[in-house]
């Protein structure tokens, strides 16, 4: 940098600083636009880093005050990373060679390595059932010598007594809220092979785990919850640091070690066993590329949002710059003067944004903790990341000033000095370049949509890149579109005509605002299409088991039917519940298998059922099977003749599986039984019979696949039993919840299923809402800044209007018209641009593994809302908020 350039920058920066102080309102607006993303990312980064618990940060919560947590594995030998939670490998477990295979009782073997003078206490984590107010729930139990100093830090006393003594227990808030509080009895249920055992403990206090909250948890002394079935032994070891060498020595006898010293101050990577070293997840190039592209798009959005403010400032400086040019200033100096505004605002905005972000992060951490069951780590400020974020803010401000800087350096000095307020003529080339880029975007997206089916991630990168290219193309087209809108404005009402023409006259201000709205809309539309398509694909793939709102109960072989009926009777009417008779395929004797043949062809039957068995029995077709009258008559006839009915519904046979075709002749049933041994199970033929048959089409979902006549089952020598119950709808969600809890309390297995249709993932719904909200906010932001900058620019024109008799509310009308022009043009341009990546990305997202079929679902309502609704809403809001006062005397005094 030459001395004169440096000097030029010094002057430019001084001018920019003065200008920033002189136009405080405008400066605040610019700072807000630059700051907001920095603040948001900074706060999010702090919450994320704080919430993220590193190995070193987790030491206390995992091992209390101990120096190490050791755990046997049952293996001969293990290899572990510095933190066994991150990575470990076992050796010799499948090996037949007899090894030491340490277990629960082998604390001495551990101390043989570490030294016998160390204090040691056992620490067990297990899960148990407990009686809640309404039934039975799961809980985690922690057993250790809670009074021992080594256990300090595992739990935090909230109220009551701590630590608990023998026969006593402390529970956490989540557990207490489901029933047993301080002074109550906690009834622990253990299901063992011999049946059910209960154990009563007195709750003496409330304590929270330092690791997480939200899950039900109880803690007591070792053995308080009965013998553990856990074969591995875990101990907290104190008595001084446990070195990496100690860890390696314990690994050699099959023991995993989390050592405080190793975790807080890890030895060099080279100390790791090469086997354990390779567990790091490889950096996914695709994810990195897509993230980089997303980052660029966010930067672009911020630049576009801030652009109008910089354009207006440059415009305000235009007269000064023209005077400078008339006095011999070079275009470079003019450019630097405007760019310096970006430097000053960007620098200030970056620093301010990070500062405010840290403050907001500090406030947000406890709030975020409320929504997270895992306890956060200590407050963490990731400085290098924040430096990057501040740099991002700086860069966005400088970039936002680039275009105004270049137009300032090329401005028509004569026109500016003569007070003409217009702008340079439209570039002829840029719209064509824009169209070319849009075409390239479409092509790239199409290629990306095609390739990513097989190749994995390359397509996604291509699509994201195409999205960026398309948006840039759109930005280049914006000026022409605005000019066209202005040209065709002659027939519009006054306010709109004025807004459209004025927008076109001040393109450096309007274009970024419109582009920001357009980019936002494009993003919302693209993501909306992607999410909706994915949802559509999921919904397509969903096979309902039962009609909507209907339910079923599947009973296991040993289930107590009457107990289940009792429970059902509490929440349902008697006539809602119908027994399902059928063949119990899973019994103590093994698993029954049915095969149906016609001639030599085995019929392929595919069915998932919730009734307890896919093979039901009836002398007539049970009422719960939904059939047309003709089909029912046909099926009844076959059953009457001692045959079987194959039921099929379209939903039961997803594409690729042909439905069985029958020729009308008899179908042969082969029954085999698989022996109960889990390994090396063998099948024995049980029976075989041929019987008349029919295939009927079930109009909705078929609850079972085959309906036997009782006579046929007799011939096959099979028993029928009540395999489950069919429940006629509607079953309310409340009833469902009560029933689930009540059935879980029964000693025998009974599984309730209630058909609710396809339930979109709650996360998807949230994503959609967040998308719409974020899109709305960004659109509103873009529109508002442009509108209010335009209004302040148009002050003289508004004063003129007042002088020729405009009502005060004309200002509102004009403001609303501005918002409508900016928002409307942006939305109309952005929506089609959003279709490009949206349609493209929906292809790889929804491509079915089996069929290669893809789904596209365009969320028209969302798009209509964004394209038509939001601009109108924004316009209305702007109109309502704008000051209804015209600057009356601005021109006369």
């Amino acid at each position: 940098m030459s001395a004169s350039t440096r000097g030029g920058w010094r002057v430019a920066l001084r001018l920019a600083r003065r200008e920033a102080l002189r136009r405080k309102g405008q400066t605040v607006l610019m700072l807000v636009l630059i700051c907001l993303p920095v603040v948001a990312v900074t706060a999010a980064a702090i919450v994320w880093r704080t919430q993220d618990v590193s190995s070193a940060e987790s030491v206390d919560r995992r091992m209390g005050s101990a120096d190490a947590l050791v755990e046997t594995t049952g293996a001969d030998r293990v290899v572990q990373g510095f933190d066994p939670y991150d990575s470990f490998g076992t050796f010799g477990e499948d090996d037949l060679s007899p090894g030491p295979n340490l277990g629960r009782g082998d604390v001495e073997a551990v101390l043989d390595v570490l030294g016998h003078d160390r204090p040691v206490i056992p620490l067990d984590r297990d899960s148990r059932l407990f009686e809640t107010d309404r039934g039975v729930g799961d809980m985690e139990v922690v057993t250790t010598d809670l009074a021992h100093p080594l256990a300090d830090g595992l739990l935090e006393r909230v109220e009551g007594k701590y630590p608990p003594g023998p026969g006593e227990v402390v529970v956490n808030q989540a557990l207490a809220s489901r029933g047993p509080g301080i002074g109550d009895t906690l009834t622990v249920i253990r299901k063992t092979a011999d049946g059910e055992k209960t154990l009563d403990l007195e709750v003496v206090g409330i304590a929270e785990s330092t690791e997480n909250r939200g899950y039900e948890l109880a803690a007591g002394l070792p053995g308080a919850f009965g013998e553990t079935e856990n074969p591995t032994g875990r101990w907290l070891v104190g008595g001084g640091p446990v070195s990496w060498d100690d860890v390696r020595a314990l690994n050699a006898i099959g023991v995993l070690v989390a050592s405080r010293q190793v975790l807080t101050d890890p030895p060099p990577e080279s100390a790791l066993d090469p086997v354990a070293g390779g567990f790091d997840e490889p950096v996914d190039q695709v994810v990195v590329s897509v993230l980089a592209l997303v980052g660029v798009m966010v930067l672009l959005e911020v630049v576009l949002l801030a652009g109008p403010a910089f354009a207006v400032r440059a415009k305000a400086q235009a007269h000064t710059l023209a005077l400078v040019a008339a006095a011999g200033g070079t275009p470079g100096q003019a450019r630097r003067t405007v760019l310096a505004s970006g430097v000053v605002i960007g620098g200030l905005g970056g620093v301010l944004g990070v500062g405010i972000g840290i403050g907001i992060g500090a406030v947000a951490v406890p709030v975020a903790q409320l929504f997270d069951t895992t306890r956060f780590g200590p407050f963490d400020v990731p400085w290098p990341l924040l430096l990057l974020v501040a740099g991002f803010g700086f860069l966005s401000a400088v970039l936002a000033a680039v275009v105004p800087a270049f137009s300032a350096s090329r401005q028509d000095v004569v026109a500016v000095l003569a007070g003409r307020r217009g702008e340079r003529r439209l570039s002829v080339r840029s719209p064509f370049l824009g169209l070319a880029l849009l075409g390239a975007g479409v092509a790239g997206a199409a290629v990306g949509a095609g390739t990513s089916g097989r190749g994995g991630g390359a397509g996604s990168v291509l699509i994201a890149g195409s999205a960026l290219v398309s948006v840039v193309g759109m930005i280049l087209v914006v000026p022409v579109v605005i000019a066209l809108v202005a040209r065709s404005a002659a027939r519009l009402p006054l306010a709109l005509r004025f807004a459209a023409r004025d927008a076109s006259r001040h393109r450096t201000r309007t274009v970024p605002a419109v582009a920001a709205v357009g980019a936002t809309v494009a993003g919302v539309v693209a993501l909306g299409i992607a999410v909706s398509s994915q949802e559509a694909a999921n919904a397509d793939a969903y096979v309902p088991m039962l009609p909507d709102g209907y339910g079923s109960v599947a009973l296991s072989a040993d289930a107590d039917r009457s107990a289940v009926v009792d429970v059902l009777g509490r929440s349902l009417r008697d006539d809602q519940v119908v027994d399902v008779r059928g063949v119990q395929t899973s019994t103590d004797q093994g698993e029954l298998e049915f095969e149906f043949r016609q001639g030599g062809d085995v019929l392929m039957l595919s069915h998932w059922g919730t009734l307890g068995s896919s093979y039901v029995v009836g002398a007539k077709v049970p009422d719960y099977v939904d059939l047309s009258a003709d089909a029912r008559a046909e099926a009844d006839a076959v059953l009457d003749a001692g045959g079987l009915v194959l039921m099929r519904s379209e939903r039961s046979y997803p594409e690729g599986y042909p439905a069985p075709e029958l020729d009308g002749g008899p179908v042969t049933v082969d029954v085999r039984r698989w022996s109960p041994e889990e390994e090396a199970s063998t099948a024995t033929d049980v029976a075989s019979a041929a019987a008349p048959s029919a295939v009927v089409e079930v109009s909705r979902s078929s609850p079972a696949v085959v309906l036997f006549s009782p006579r046929l089952l007799e011939r096959l020598g099979l028993e029928t039993s009540t395999v489950g119950m069919f429940i006629y709808g509607p079953v309310s969600e409340e009833a469902e919840k009560d029933l689930q809890e009540a059935l879980a309390a029964l000693p025998t297995a009974a599984y309730l299923y209630v058909e609710r249709g396809y339930q979109p993932d709650a996360a998807v719904r949230i994503v959609q809402v967040v998308l719409a909200a974020l899109g709305g906010i960004l659109m509103l932001g873009g529109t508002l800044t442009a509108t209010f900058l335009a209004l302040s620019d148009a002050r003289p024109d508004l004063a003129t209007m007042a002088a020729v008799g405009a009502r005060p509310r004309t200002r509102r009308t004009v403001a609303a018209a501005y918002a409508l022009v900016v928002g409307g043009v942006g939305a109309v341009l952005g929506a089609p641009v959003g279709f490009i990546p949206g349609l493209a990305i929906s292809q790889p997202l929804t491509r079915s593994w089996e069929t290669g079929a893809t789904a596209v679902d365009v969320p028209w309502l969302l798009i209509l809302t964004v394209v038509a609704g939001l601009p109108l809403l924004t316009a209305a809001a702007v109109g309502a908020c704008a000051r209804g006062r015209l600057p009356l005397t601005a021109r006369i005094d």
Binding site: L494, R497, F498, R501, R505, T810, T889
Partner: protein, 239 residues
């Protein structure tokens, strides 16, 4: 002769307390139909304040401003705006055309604001532009016109809709003498056709186009020349 504009004992104080500035002090002033009155005075004498009060852009601290029999002080903002659309026309030194609107649209502005159909308003505007001699420039934008042409548009805008009171604030200030004279000629013609005009100027040469000249000093009328004339053709200047 009826007074289109009548100011009676009008006082206007800007600001309060020790910082208060008396812009006008008990000024009474009339402009009749068919009469062009010039208001002269140095900067700060209250000329512009008088004009903003007459146009209903500002309210007097004391006294009455009556336009075509209606007291402006008694009207609300909307009604005063309506007066500016239907009765009062403004011409400014800086033309103050709206650059986003064509000449015809600028002229039609007050009519459109008044609810006249855009087509009708524009036809009316073209007729008035024809009258001021620039009918062929109706579809030009202000930036593509010379200062004189712009001021003609401004005059057309001030008179369109048969408004009877024309308030002109240094309308020739930004123009050369000859073009300025053309503008004054238009203004004069409008008054001769029956409108009342108030011309604020600090140049005697322009004020001489008026029937009466009112001199303002420090917010007071200090002098006024009547309309009685000395015929130079028969009675040479006495000096």
């Amino acid at each position: 002769m009826s007074a289109v504009l009548e100011l009676t004992d009008v006082t206007r104080v800007h600001g309060e307390g020790p910082a208060a500035v008396q812009a006008l002090r008990a000024v009474s002033f009339r402009a009749h139909a068919g009469e062009l009155v010039a208001v002269m005075g140095p900067s700060g004498s209250g000329k512009s304040t008088l004009l903003t009060l007459a146009g209903g852009l500002d309210r007097p601290t004391d006294g009455r401003v009556v336009v075509e029999g209606v007291e402006l002080g008694a009207l609300g903002n909307d009604e005063r705006a309506r007066m500016r659309r239907t009765s009062i026309g403004y011409v400014f030194q800086g033309f103050n055309l709206i650059p986003a609107l064509t000449a015809a649209e600028n002229v039609a502005l007050s009519r459109e604001l008044d609810g006249v159909a855009a087509r009708t308003a524009r036809a009316e505007a073209r007729r008035v532009l024809e009258e001021v001699g620039i009918g062929d420039l109706a579809d030009r934008f202000p930036d593509d016109m010379s200062g004189g042409q712009q001021q003609r548009v401004a005059i057309a805008r001030a008179v369109v809709g048969e408004r009877r009171l024309i308030l002109a604030d240094e309308p020739t200030g930004a123009l050369d003498t000859e073009t300025g004279e053309e503008i004054l000629r238009l203004l004069r013609a409008r008054c001769d056709a029956g409108a009342a005009g108030v011309l604020v100027t600090h140049e005697a040469r322009h004020a001489a186009w008026a029937d009466r000249v009112v001199f303002l000093r420090d917010g007071r009328v200090v002098d006024e020349t009547g309309a009685e004339s000395v015929d130079l053709l028969t009675e040479p200047a006495a000096r």
